[in-house]
Amino acid sequence: MTNKILVVAAKEFKDGLRNRWVAGITVVLALFAMAISYFGAAASGMVGFTSLSTTIVSLSSLAIFLIPLIALILAYDSIVGEEEQGTLILLLTYPLKRSELLIGKFTGHAAMMALSTLLGFGSAGLLIAFFSAEVDLQELLIAYSMFIVTSILLGWVFIALAYLVSVISSEKSKASGVALIIWFAFVFVFDLLLLGLLVATGGAVGDALFGWLLLLNPTDIFRLINLGSFEATQVQSGLASIADKKMIQPLVLWSALLVWIVVPGFLAVWRFNKRVI
């Protein structure tokens, strides 16, 4: 990583602290996580911190809903916003490649997202550990760390997608529209379509094929990683439970999540290099 990428990343991060982005995201994630893990078991007639598996399932659903939305809002204007401020054209005259600028800004946003997720979900985790007596602490630590790490990766996926949107949009308002569509598509529409496919074919879609189709949605990958270890929770884990676990190894899932960061990221750099300013 060049020195210039770090300079850009540091500025972006500082800007994020100033804008209260980091504080805001941390608080939102912490509050929702605490509330969800407390009321998560309400469906089964209990409130309070219950079993670890229930908590992780509830938290995952929350993360799938919130993290992509936050990441997209955070980063959708990263390039198109600088263009409207007049700073983009200026930076392009500096001794700085377009790719360095984009990667630097991405790094800053990624660091903000990681820090807020760690603080927000981490504080909720401490509370859960403190209040739930019957939970095995070591088990909690492992499952919860995985939850936080995958949440961060999920955030990065959507930051990368936001950059792609920002780079191809000519105006901020258009970028925000496209970002919302992306959120809606991955969080709601995709699973509905898959369900429709399942119903329409009378379940004839093979388990294997179905598992691979899930890899096309980063939020489903996130769900698969976090719920994979809990047999008991499969009922509650939606479509992800239908997939053949043996077919999709954890390594494949983690790699797929990384691919979802790298590919949109590269596409963003490529399109940015072609963009007429």
């Binding site: 500025k11 401020q85 007049g86 700073t87 200026l90 005259t93």
Partner: protein, 317 residues
């Protein structure tokens, strides 16, 4: 192509869809010159600048900056560290302070902390350096923009509408800074609509219209070529007015003791001698055609001007 040209354009065309924003410009700007790039809104000034900066790649034609192709050779042989640019419509990062903003740009350009401080001082922002830019007035933002453009003692300085929002004192400071940089050999391109006041600072004016160069040359050359009349205000009595009429001078009597003469600039010395010999003339004041009137002249002529002096090239379709 002249090897020593700071900026060289050869039949440059820049098209946006059907629109030819720049339509066949050829020009050379020598190192160390201060050039005024003038023209109506949409004439192609900013587009030309973007091609010099390598932000836009010309549709056809060649652009060279100190011998480098700015669009292909991004580094421009290390010139980027010493390339100062002030874009139009620059509003910066609202949440950062002035000092932090300048620091960010300085780090990217590799300029020292010492220089940052000095520039903040120079543009008169020291007192507001630790306030967030969102609280800055328009002129203060413009000053901050100038400070970043002046980082690293630029070898090439391009200012797009630099005086917008600046108060008269800041404007004068800017021009003396440009003068100082010129002494050090900096090439300066100045895009401006505010024509009054820049005459004395620019070595050469380039007048663009609809993507073409309408006229270029020093103010004097343009003046001669335009053959715009100079104006002489005379206080007192002119006894021998027949002589003036014979010389083709138009005389207008403002009141009993005040005349305004309008005459070809080439008659300047003749006229002055004659007027100085007039017993009852008390005072004479000459005003040469301003850049503004020259500019207006070139923007309104549309007939071929083949008979004009060869010192200046005039391009017409």
């Amino acid at each position: 192509m002249k090897a020593k040209a700071a900026i060289h354009f050869d039949h440059v065309v820049m098209r946006f869809g059907k629109l030819r924003a720049v339509n066949g410009i050829s020009m050379d700007i020598e190192p160390g010159q201060v050039v005024g790039l003038l023209g109506h809104n949409g004439a192609g000034k900013t587009t030309s600048i973007k091609m010099i900066l390598g932000i836009l790649k010309p549709t056809t034609g060649t652009v060279r900056v100190f011998g480098h192709d700015p669009a292909a050779d991004r580094n421009m042989g290390g010139l980027r560290e010493q390339l100062g640019y002030l874009p139009e419509n620059l509003s910066f990062y609202p949440q950062l302070t002035g000092r932090e903003t300048l620091q960010y740009f300085a780090r990217l350009k590799g300029a020292s902390g010492q220089e940052q401080k000095q520039l903040l001082e120079e543009v008169g922002l020291m007192h507001a350096a630790d306030r967030r830019v969102k609280t800055y007035s328009k002129g203060m933002r413009q000053r901050l923009g100038l400070a970043q453009a002046l980082l690293n003692q630029p070898k090439l300085l391009i200012l797009d509408e630099p005086t917008v929002g600046l108060d008269p004192v800041a404007t004068r400071d800017l021009y003396s800074k440009i003068e100082a940089l010129k002494q050090q050999g900096t090439t300066v391109i100045l895009c401006s609509h505010v024509l009054s006041g820049i005459e004395e600072y620019i070595d050469r004016a380039l007048i663009l219209s609809a993507g073409k160069i309408l006229a270029q040359g020093s103010i004097n050359e343009l003046r001669q070529k335009a053959r715009l009349p100079m104006t002489i205000s005379v206080r007192g009595q002119i006894d021998n007015q027949d002589w003036l009429t014979a010389k083709g001078v138009t005389t207008r009597k403002i009141n009993g003791s005040h005349y305004e003469l309008s005459a070809a600039a080439s008659h300047k010395l003749d006229l002055l001698r004659a007027l100085a010999n007039e017993k009852n003339v008390e005072d004479i004041e000459i005003s040469m055609p301003s850049l503004e009137s020259i500019y207006t002249y070139y923007n309104t002529i549309d007939q071929p001007t083949a008979d004009r002096s060869p010192a200046v090239e005039v391009n017409h379709d």
